[in-house]
């Protein structure tokens, strides 16, 4: 066990080391983030002005679909799996993940899944064009001929996620250092444990949904076809039974990251640790019983509408508790504003705004106007981009010195923060206005009264996109030539086992488990 990494490409292909696999996940997710971001740039460039300038409507639909799929399944989820791989064993004092060979497999099938998915863009018939929610019958009877590649790709991606989650659960439950009781675990580990259970519960449901599609398309069943006794609305129920927990799958690990960074830079322990754990668990539970708030307009009896409205509003309670806890952590702390902290504070601000619009969307009557409008687009980008991208960026800046033993450039980090914070808000805040004024989402072209806000939104998107290039530049520069650091504790206020090992973290850590008091 005591040897270092193998040499050459074989190190990466056959590695079972959690740090190597974490690195692979992170780079892969960043590549996907750039790909999905490129799609977003195409979308915003086309929407810069009314009229079709650059692409055709059918390609526009492929862009919106691929943007959603690549960002959700390719960028965000693997990014957090990567963080989990790197950090969870180090945080709980384990030598590696519980199932290292499966760990290798769960990463290496991902590139195949996404190659399948992306290759459809170059095939006759084009890529998936039915939205990342792929509602039947647009995705079945009326789907492009390449839909089977999409289905197969989703199966592979789903299998990868399930394996990743099993590994995380096994690691957390079986591999903790002596004395590391559940209620002593760092928040990131807790949120990931709950997330992993969510994934195991709902990724198979997504697999079920695409399998039913596959059978409807190729084997003459009628799950979603009213002619044969099926129902297209069933698809939406199955999809959102997966889709709503999926939202929390994305955001819960982000909560975990933020719960590390804010205490560190406030130099004060996390406020309300146990209530954080309970809040996370109740959010996870509630996520299973609110799915149909995505479907207020499919024609539900009023009793159903009221139930899903009330249940959805309830989620505000544990979520608010979390925000209050973070603010109480900052309160009377000794706060400094390094780049990770800036991103973490921006996360709290933006996520809270997204939470408010989420509460508005829960109101079934008002959803008549909000539904499928740009208001929804604004809402979920406030939640997802703030939740995943801001917290992911914060996490990279925060742990990068530990990973590679070099410090990033603080000024460049801060510049990147301000560019992305401002760019993000210029992009997405006006989309609230567009939606309220009546612009539906997924529109390739729009009426003239929407021109001005769209143009502003596009400008913001280019700014936000450019800030990501600065990010990758800063990261690569740090790895190659950043100022070396060797203190185990990079940050004065940091707590946790990962800050007790040497910097940079050696290839193998905690071969003998530490004693946790």
């Amino acid at each position: 066990m005591a040897h270092g990494p193998a040499k050459g490409i074989g190190r990466w292909l056959f590695t079972t080391n959690h740090k190597d696999i974490g690195t692979l996940y992170l780079w892969f997710s960043f590549a996907m983030f750039l790909l999905g971001g490129t799609f977003a740039m195409v979308i915003r460039a086309e929407l810069f002005q009314p009229g079709m300038q650059l692409i055709k409507p059918e390609f526009f639909n492929q862009m919106t679909t691929m943007h959603g799929l690549v960002m959700v399944f390719g960028a965000i989820m693997p990014a957090f799996v990567g963080l989990a791989n790197w950090l969870i064993p180090m945080m709980i004092g384990a030598p590696d993940m519980a199932l290292p060979r499966m760990n290798n497999l769960s990463f290496w099938i991902l590139p195949f899944g996404f190659s399948l998915l992306a290759s459809t863009l170059f095939m006759e018939g084009g890529g998936p064009n039915f939205g990342w929610t792929f509602y039947a019958p647009l995705s079945t009877t009326y789907a492009p001929s390449t839909v089977n590649y999409f289905i197969f790709g989703m199966h592979i991606i789903g299998a990868s996620s399930i394996m990743g989650s099993i590994n995380i659960i096994a690691t957390v439950l079986n591999m903790r250092a002596p004395g590391m009781t559940l209620m002593k675990m760092p928040m990131f580990v807790w949120t990931w444990l709950i997330t992993a259970f969510l994934l195991i519960a709902v990724m198979p449901v997504l697999a079920g949904a695409v399998t039913m599609m596959l059978m409807d398309i190729n084997f003459g069943t009628s799950f979603f076809d009213a002619a044969g006794g099926g129902d297209p609305v069933l698809f939406q129920h199955v999809f959102w039974f997966f889709g709503h927990p999926e939202v929390y799958i994305i955001v819960l690990p982000a909560f975990g990251v933020i719960s590390h960074i804010i205490p560190t830079f406030s130099r004060k322990p996390l406020f309300g640790y146990s209530s954080m754990v309970y809040a996370t668990a109740s959010i996870a539970f509630l996520s299973f019983i609110v799915w149909a708030h995505h479907m207020f307009l499919v024609g539900m009896p009023i009793g159903g509408e009221l139930y899903f409205m009330y249940a959805t509003m309830l989620i505000a309670v544990p979520t608010a508790a979390k925000v209050f806890n973070w603010i109480s952590t900052m309160f009377r702390g000794s706060i400094s504003y390094e780049t990770p902290m800036l991103f973490a504070i921006a996360f709290v601000v933006l996520f809270t705004i997204g939470g408010f619009t989420g509460l508005m969307l829960a109101i079934a009557a008002a959803d008549v106007q909000y539904h499928d409008s740009y208001f929804v687009v604004a809402h979920f980008h406030y939640v997802m981009v703030a939740g995943a991208v801001f917290s992911g960026t914060a996490a990279v800046y925060y742990w990068l010195p530990k990973w590679c033993g070099r410090m990033y450039n603080e000024t460049m980090g801060k510049v990147q923060f301000w560019i992305s914070f401002i760019g993000f808000n210029i992009t997405f805040f006006p989309q609230h206005f567009l939606g309220l004024a009546g612009m539906p989402r997924r529109y390739a072209d729009y009426a003239l009264q929407f021109s001005d806000w769209n143009m502003i939104s596009s400008i913001g998107a280019f700014i936000y996109g450019a800030s990501q290039l600065l990010f990758i530049f800063n990261v690569i520069r740090t790895i190659r030539s950043g100022t070396p650091v060797s203190e185990p504790k990079t940050w004065e206020g940091a707590e946790g086992l990962e800050w007790t090992v040497a910097t940079p973290a050696p290839y193998h850590t905690f071969a003998t488990p530490p004693e946790v008091k």
Partner: protein, 384 residues
């Protein structure tokens, strides 16, 4: 230190400054810079607006409170100012309080939210019924019990969409025939879809409902003021999703009755027209217009379709074999099962179908010289 302070200042005041900028702009060009939901023209849209504003202001108040505390500690408890961290990390009372208060607030919100929803759902005692059917990519309106039905399609020309002509005022918001409704009448909409899921949304009427194949949904509107209200499809339905707008023309009741009577006459006249014999030039002219309205969305204005998705008509065997137009007629009238090719027999007049087929057989280098008369279409439809 002052640099940090100014950064904080910017973080706090950036939203406020942009708000101030917004309100000024709103005053200048309310329509173009609209930032809020319109109140709309029906009791339901007003109820929705009210609940939207109630929730919005509650959120604003909570948000201001929460962020005030946060920005205060960001400012007052800075390390650079010499702040020393306290060490508290739990306070059961506080935690209970901030669980209970949001819960109570939610109950307060739930009451008006429920009332508004009951309003949206109250379709009883409607005075008239309109059936709305969503197609790829147009709407069909049926005046139930009146024997009047028509298809409403986008009329914005392709040149405007592809920027070779200047865009008109109602770019992408003009249709071949608006849905005409009487004012001060409770109208019930029965909404369904023919192929994929669409969603009928007119923001000023406070109506949005999914149009799902095999399901019929209900919605309603009581429109106070005559006028023209515009809307669009709100559920992704394929490449023409952004190109199937809705126009509702609301008339005073008497005017509406006159319109309906005239419309019925037109329907009868159109039936007679089917028996007339047309010249090639007449059919080609009408065919080009009808083709661009109903066919070009898939088969493209130049008849080349989209490879792998929508077949080309230019040079296709079906449209280029002189004299043999039975299959061509069949596919236009009856559609093709399992594909996006609709049965146009039910949505276009005999004259339009005859003109389209004639056009397709004689345009873009297709040169059969075939002339299909409306009467041929009528006979075919009747199974003769």
């Amino acid at each position: 230190m002052s640099r940090r302070a100014s950064m904080l200042f910017a973080l706090v005041f950036a939203p406020a400054i942009s708000l101030a900028f917004m309100s000024k702009a709103v005053a200048e060009e309310a329509q173009r810079w609209a930032v809020n939901m319109p109140k709309g023209a029906t009791p339901v849209s007003n109820a929705i607006y009210d609940i939207h504003m109630i929730i919005f202001w509650i959120c604003v108040v909570i948000g201001v409170g929460v962020f005030a505390v946060m920005f205060y500690s960001m400012f007052a408890h800075r390390k650079s100012k010499g702040a020393v961290a306290a060490n508290f990390h739990e306070n059961t009372t506080a935690e209970i309080v901030w669980t209970v208060i949001p819960a109570l607030l939610l109950i307060v919100m739930a009451v008006p939210a429920t009332t508004a929803l009951l309003d949206v759902y109250d379709t009883t005692e409607a005075e008239m019924d309109i059936k709305i059917t969503g197609y790829q990519w147009k709407w069909q309106y049926e005046y139930l019990g009146e024997d009047v039905a028509f298809v409403s399609e986008l009329t914005t020309p392709e040149e405007e969409i592809y920027n070779t002509a200047p865009k008109s005022q109602y770019y992408l918001q003009e249709v071949s025939q608006a849905l005409v409704l009487p004012a001060k009448t409770k109208v019930r909409f029965l909404i369904t879809g023919k192929d994929v899921i669409h969603s009928w949304w007119v923001v000023d009427l406070g109506v949005k409902k999914d149009a799902i194949p095999g399901v019929v949904n209900e919605a309603w509107a009581y429109i106070e003021e005559p006028g023209i209200y515009r809307g669009e499809c709100a559920e992704l339905c394929g490449k023409g999703h952004a190109f199937m707008p809705i126009v509702v023309n609301v008339l005073e009741k008497e005017e509406y009755n006159a319109w309906l009577a005239k419309k019925k006459e037109e329907v009868a006249a159109e039936r007679d027209l089917a028996k007339k014999t047309f010249t090639l030039d007449e059919l080609m002219a009408q065919g080009e217009a009808a083709y661009n309205r109903s066919c070009a969305a898939c088969h493209a204005g130049n008849g080349e379709g989209i490879p792998g998705v929508f077949p080309a008509l230019k040079g296709s065997a079906m449209a280029t074999t002189t004299g043999d137009y039975a299959a061509h007629l069949d596919i236009v009238v009856n559609g093709k099962a399992g594909t996006a090719m609709q049965a146009f027999g039910g949505q276009l007049s005999e004259v339009d179908i005859a003109a389209i087929i004639t056009y397709e057989r004689n345009a873009w280098g297709n040169s059969t010289g075939d002339l299909v008369q409306p009467l041929d279409v009528l006979k075919f439809k009747q199974g003769q």
